[in-house]
């Protein structure tokens, strides 16, 4: 008698779980297990509850006046070669072409096609999957380097040429930082000033 009750109650529990937890209508619900193992279901994901800004009506990214990206001679547009090559998404070390590009920038965590778009090589891709042009490459760098991106937008990071109260030209990140090897190499300094005792009368 007890066994049948236990079996029935287990069956009932199983059905209840199936009805309440698995259907597709629970798309927006988040499930957590608290410390005692109890299941908690909430309507809104925690990220939405914690966010303080609006993502639905976000204004589009501002465009900046930048000169064209500093490509190597003849390398762009990439689709000249890549249009009739089958895309190979397998992560590997390149041996035939582009082997001179050695990635020295988070090379353990990613490879070429994490930034370059697989199907249209004339474009770059963001982490969200959005495809952007090379003229907007600052958005790609800004994904990880957000503080530099914010400073660059205002004019505090990086070089600006032109007029302080008029048209300025913003340089792309890639104009100063090689995206595959961004660390600045040391420069030879220009000559020091002449010492006063070395000035001939």
């Amino acid at each position: 008698m007890k066994r049948r009750h236990v079996k029935l109650s287990l069956l009932f529990l199983g059905l209840a779980f199936a009805v309440f937890l698995f259907p597709g209508s629970a798309a927006a619900k988040e499930k957590y297990f608290d410390r005692s193992g109890r299941l908690i279901v909430v309507d809104e994901p925690a990220a939405n509850l914690l966010r303080t800004y609006d993502i639905k009506d976000r204004p589009p990214e501002k465009q900046f006046p930048v000169p064209p990206a500093p490509f190597s001679e003849g390398i762009f547009p990439c689709s000249d070669c890549h249009a009739d090559m089958a895309p190979n998404p397998k992560r590997r070390k390149l041996t035939e072409y582009h082997e001179n590009i050695v990635l020295n920038h988070a090379e353990g965590q990613r490879w070429c096609l994490d930034c370059h778009n697989l199907n249209d090589r004339d474009k770059l891709r963001l982490v969200s999957g959005e495809v952007i042009s090379f003229d907007e490459s600052y958005r790609l760098c800004g994904q990880c380097h957000g503080d530099k991106y914010r400073d660059w937008k205002v004019g505090v990071h990086g070089k600006r040429i032109g007029n302080w109260n008029g048209d300025k030209e913003y340089l792309l990140c890639a104009h100063c930082h090689n995206p595959h090897d961004p660390k600045f190499k040391p420069l030879k300094p220009l000559p020091p000033p002449v010492r006063p005792d070395e000035i001939r009368p």
Binding site: D151, V154, G155, V156, H157, G158, K159, R160, I161, G162, N163, W164, N165, G166, D167, C176, F184, P186, L187, K188, P189, L190, P191, P192, P193, V194, R195, I199
Partner: protein, 308 residues
């Protein structure tokens, strides 16, 4: 003493007092330009302080200077006297976390502002300091010359005229040849400066430089676009200093100073402190800013900051 009484036989009779007066007057006449000198030398001699010139006198002065310089250098030189722009106070920002001490700004300034090449004058001086000791000027090195910069463990601080709001150099000038303009730039009237160098002693930043000799400026390196109070070729015996490229920044639209455009790492920022949208306002409101020798209360418009 033997009596020399033979003076009055042939020559004229003059008392000692009269003789001394005559000699003094004669020596005084030597100070004026000779009568056969060109008109421009007479005009230069009697030119008033820049601030007292009327509009016509100013135009005539500029024309005279253009003629003199064009003749001296053999190319067309323009001297303008662009006034300040209303509602503008210039500020300069220098990113100490980015400067690598390459001195491109020093030589960019020299090319733009017609400094003497021999004897050498640099308006910007880059100090190499120890990261561990911070801004310790007793151990600063300005004659560093390694193969590559930046050197390990050092940071670099370029120093130029800080365009102070309470400039000690202006306070001590005995002839008022230097004054702060409405847009904040402290300027020197090279035709009024007497070369006493009090301002050089007063400046705590060592930002003023003196022309001990006639400036050695080759004609092919001259920048012909000049400003009266800025980068026009100087004379022997006058003091000069950074003017925030007054000939570039006062144009409409104003251009960036030469040092900012020469910097390869973008460590220099320039703008209008009164404009709430400018990069200068953003950086003094949001970054860690430090004033050089703040304890002297010169209130400079040159802000050293750390972007990181």
């Amino acid at each position: 003493m033997s009596e020399k009484t033979s003076c009055c036989k042939k020559g004229f009779r003059a008392s000692r007092r009269t003789a001394l007066k005559g000699i003094a007057a004669g020596v005084g006449m030597l100070a004026l330009p000779p009568s056969n000198a060109s008109a421009s030398i007479w005009e230069t001699f009697f030119q008033k302080n820049f601030r007292e010139l009327s509009k016509e006198e100013l135009l005539a002065t500029l024309k005279r200077l253009e003629k003199e310089y064009s003749k001296e250098f053999g190319k067309e030189v323009k001297v303008k006297a662009t006034p300040h722009i209303e509602g503008v106070t210039f500020g300069y920002g220098l990113d100490l976390s980015r400067c690598i001490g390459c001195r491109r700004c020093v030589y960019g300034c020299v090319a733009e502002n017609n400094q003497s090449r021999d004897p050498q004058i640099h308006w910007i001086r880059v100090q190499q300091l120890d990261k561990e000791k911070g801004v310790d000027l007793a151990h600063a090195e300005q004659y560093y010359n390694p193969d590559l910069v930046p050197e390990e463990g050092h940071f670099y601080m370029p120093v130029q005229c800080q365009q102070c709001r309470q400039p000690p150099c202006v306070k001590v000038c005995p002839v008022q040849a230097t004054w702060p303009e409405r847009d904040g730039i402290v300027v020197v009237d090279y035709n009024w400066c007497i070369g006493c160098r009090y301002c050089m002693a007063a400046c705590p930043y060592g930002a003023r430089h003196f022309n001990w000799k006639k400036p050695g400026l080759p004609a092919e390196e001259l920048n012909p676009d000049t400003h009266y109070l800025g980068n026009r070729p100087r004379y022997v015996g006058v003091v000069e200093k950074c003017t925030f490229c007054i000939q570039r920044t006062r144009e409409v639209p104003g251009r960036y100073p030469a040092c900012e455009e020469a910097c390869p790492v973008g460590a220099r920022k320039f703008g209008n402190l009164l404009d709430p949208d400018s990069e200068m306002r953003y950086l003094i409101e949001n970054k860690r800013v430090f004033i050089f020798k703040e304890d002297l209360n010169t209130q400079p418009k040159f802000f050293y900051f750390y972007a990181t």
